[in-house]
Subunit: 513 residues, 2 copies
């Protein structure tokens, strides 16, 4: 027994301390701590590659995954962080961090119960969502949770519990009036920028509509990207509130106000897995609506074989669930199914979509009629749902506000209030895709069109995208433009056309008999 009475050399705190060095590695949301393979902490505490550890600096902590570094990237006694971990800790190069075992994740027993097929009650959901929002779950835990809730594995009560839990970990705006109106599109339809028309119409009608929108994640443009070509969209909660108090409405990026942090984390794994979970979709939509303080929400649900909702049966089930859960959390919802068979308007990509919106707002002769009619239908539903326009006066009121220029003036005022209106950019490089036969357009592949727009640079290159001239029913001649690809660099045009070469029937034409 050589060491029976030996005292411990130094406290656990100092023994676990390392100095931060900057490496500039981006891993998206995932917090990574880079440590040397011969690091004394790893050797003695048993941390190894993929260990989950707690990293502390001052009073702030983050749960991170260990990656190891061999060679001279890090000196002895040094460690580094992924960008999201630098940010979470508010750390600077040279700071001392302490690496230690993370606290046990209290909700994992509930996660396991759900994985094994048990139902979760509201305290269990709150426990899970609290740990998700705190960043305690690894990507593996998140993927397991999303999988365990996939399809119809959450019943209505569990969906209500999940929605309440997601609201509970976020911010919730309160307004000194009622109703607070809102709209949402279930998505998957390129060019469906009705929000930028519905908000000014509804605000010009005297109602309140504090709208937050998302950026594109897998699509060529989100409403926030499109709006950003016309006005700033990155506003904090106080700035958003000022715009709404002044103009009755706003169109800002939801990410900048961070109203539903757990949803942001879950979406980060749902998208790459491409799993549909009705319960999570409902909780995601409604928790964000509750967060901005909405009391009445119109939901646009496009149905089509290449849209997110592919059948009327799915739309009906999803609509019923949205309505039931909304009622349980005190929100009135009206679901409007719509045609999701082809893109809306002519533009696909931020600036091109913005031009469509401007044409409709200004009443120009070549404004896309489908975008106009979809927006009017939704605006009418919002007005009717508010109760402020009795006897179904919503449709006539919405059309009047759009036609007499009030919607346009309100849109300009909202843009100015968000930081100043600007012109959308135009692309320097364009190349058409032409018809090779005479005939009639019978089908459009929304997903492949979206893919080409992304390869051309959208949404990072805001002027990039597709200008689409061949909706279903168009009669075409050989050599006629079906659509034109726009790009900010010639190489990006090439990528889009390299992809097109391997595809057939992005626009399907049938010869006349």
């Amino acid at each position: 027994m050589s060491d029976v009475h030996g005292a411990a050399p130094g406290s656990a705190e100092t023994r676990n301390s390392l100095t931060l060095r900057y490496l500039g590695i981006y891993t998206y949301r995932e917090a990574i701590v880079f440590m040397r393979t011969d690091c004394h902490i790893c050797r003695s505490v048993g941390f190894t590659v993929q260990s989950r550890v707690q990293v502390s600096r001052g009073g702030r902590t983050v749960i991170a995954t260990v990656n190891m570094v061999d060679g001279d990237l890090l000196a002895e006694g040094e460690a580094s962080l992924s960008e999201s971990a630098w940010e979470a800790l508010g750390a600077n190069p040279g700071d001392a961090i302490v690496v230690s075992h993370p606290p046990p994740i209290g909700s994992l027993s509930h996660l396991r119960a759900k994985i094994y097929g048990e139902r979760l009650d509201e305290p269990a959901m709150r426990s899970i969502i609290g740990d998700v929002a705190a960043g305690y779950y690894s990507d593996l835990h998140l993927a397991a949770f999303v999988t365990a809730c996939a399809g119809e594995r959450l019943d209505i009560d569990e969906t209500v519990a999940l929605t309440r839990a997601m609201i509970g970990v976020g911010t919730r705006l309160a307004w000194p009036r009622s109703p607070i109106m809102d709209k949402h599109s279930v998505g998957g339809l390129p060019g469906n920028r009705t929000t930028m028309l519905v908000v000014p119409i509804v605000a010009a009608a005297g109602l309140t509509i504090p709208k937050t929108s998302s950026r594109a994640i897998t699509s060529p443009a989100g409403t926030a990207d499109t709006m950003e070509t016309l006005a700033p969209v990155v506003l904090d909660v106080a700035a958003m509130r000022r715009v709404v108090e002044r103009e009755g409405g706003c169109i800002v990026w939801g990410g900048s106000v961070a109203l539903s942090p757990a949803d942001d984390v879950l979406i980060g794994v749902e998208r790459p897995l491409d799993i549909d979970s009705e319960g999570q979709l409902v909780a995601s939509v409604l928790s964000k609506k509750a967060a901005v303080g909405s009391t009445h929400v119109v939901i646009d649900m496009p149905i089509g074989s290449t849209a997110k909702v592919r059948s009327a049966a799915t739309a009906e089930r999803l609509g019923a669930r949205l309505t039931a859960v909304a009622e349980a959390i005190g929100i009135t919802v009206r679901v409007l199914p719509s045609d999701g068979s082809q893109p809306v308007g002519r533009g696909i990509g931020p600036a091109l979509e913005a031009r469509d919106v401007l044409k409709v707002l200004r009443g120009e002769h070549d404004a896309p009629p489908d975008l106009r009619s979809r927006a009017l239908r939704l605006a009418a539903a919002v007005l009717d749902l508010s109760g402020a326009f009795p006897n179904d006066a919503g449709a006539a009121t919405a059309a009047a506000i759009l036609d007499d220029g009030r919607a346009w003036r309100k849109f300009v005022a909202i843009c100015e209030s968000q930081g100043g209106m600007r012109e959308p950019p135009t692309a320097g490089h364009r190349r058409p895709v032409v018809a090779h036969q005479r005939g009639r357009v019978v089908a459009i592949d929304n997903r492949r069109l979206a893919r080409m727009a992304k390869l051309a640079g959208a949404p990072q290159a805001p002027a990039a995208g597709i200008e689409f001239f061949s909706p279903i029913g168009t009669e075409v001649e050989p050599g006629q433009s079906l659509f034109v690809v726009h790009a900010q660099a010639p190489g990006e045009l090439d990528y889009a056309f390299d992809y097109l070469a391997g595809q057939q029937d992005v626009v399907r034409i049938e010869e006349r008999a």
Copy 2:
């Protein structure tokens, strides 16, 4: 239309090429490609942080996840890889790689079907396991698959299909004789090193037993770690075959012969998730047995509140499933439930466990009787199951082989054949944990004991671990050693005792009435 007829500048191949720089970053199995945030490929093709991409060098490819790097870690036109990706590509610094969109993963539709609760047939399982073994699945996909198969979500037919699929993507050894014997322990019990006794007894009895064992992943020692303190265990398939042909048996590290590549990948996500899946456990065990060519397998299943199998009911269900699936793939299995309430033998940690094994083999007076009797029971079952020892002669034969020194001589011969026998190391630093009261030991927390052994350095420090003196029923006096912690460095002793300070009742003592 400024670019209607412009030719593409260069082929897609050269436009997507980058030069490799070495950074030395370890991420365990995960293939990561590090690219600059302003990389022309990312900008033009739309790759971003977390994108899954195909990285090619020469004829070899790997599917990797994109991390981005800002600052001067990488120069323009450079990229780097995680260690597992360097290895998969056989790449060297300065090599050119091509980064492109990965081929679509064909089996994801089957994965989704399983997530939504459908049953998978054998072609679907083969498709999934083929993509898993090829490295096409991200960690998120793997976590989703493991979750979708959790608990009892795989029925017997699906488990058979999964087992066959896992066998199909691996190597399968063939032997010019029959039967080929094997044993397996379900695990969770510190010190349960019966393999190192069963193999020499069975081989000395004239049977063939080509045993592969695992290293510790979450425990203080795997059988491969313990065996390695006495002889080399990293043998390739040809070397393993030579040992078995000469001595009738071997004890080698399964990882070095890589017989079940899909299982190795799935275990990488099952462990951190800590999800039990009966179907996957059965497929994992049996695919590895099939891979080494076993025809008859005895399975030791310790049952205890801190062991892997916690109840007799679980043991019975799991045993029935193992037997049924084994029969379907042509393997005869016999399951032996055993006591899993406390550690086996005195040592916990590679060298300390090896000393216990040596004492039993040499018949020393202080050999742990529990390790001896467990090993004899299993060896007897293997002999009986082989059909070569009629009338239940297995027990008497096994005892005779152990007692007359034949097992010891066979063990020495196997060690020599694997590369040479050696002495296990001893630890320079030891500190006892003593009883604070008079009484009787009534319970042992296997998990906390294992944790202390790991904090003391096991298995990386092979001499580290715990020497355990207080099995259930031991009468102790105040100041009497319950166990002694061994470490190769004083700091590691401190870590183990820092942990102990926060725990109670690792060994629970009740006062006599």
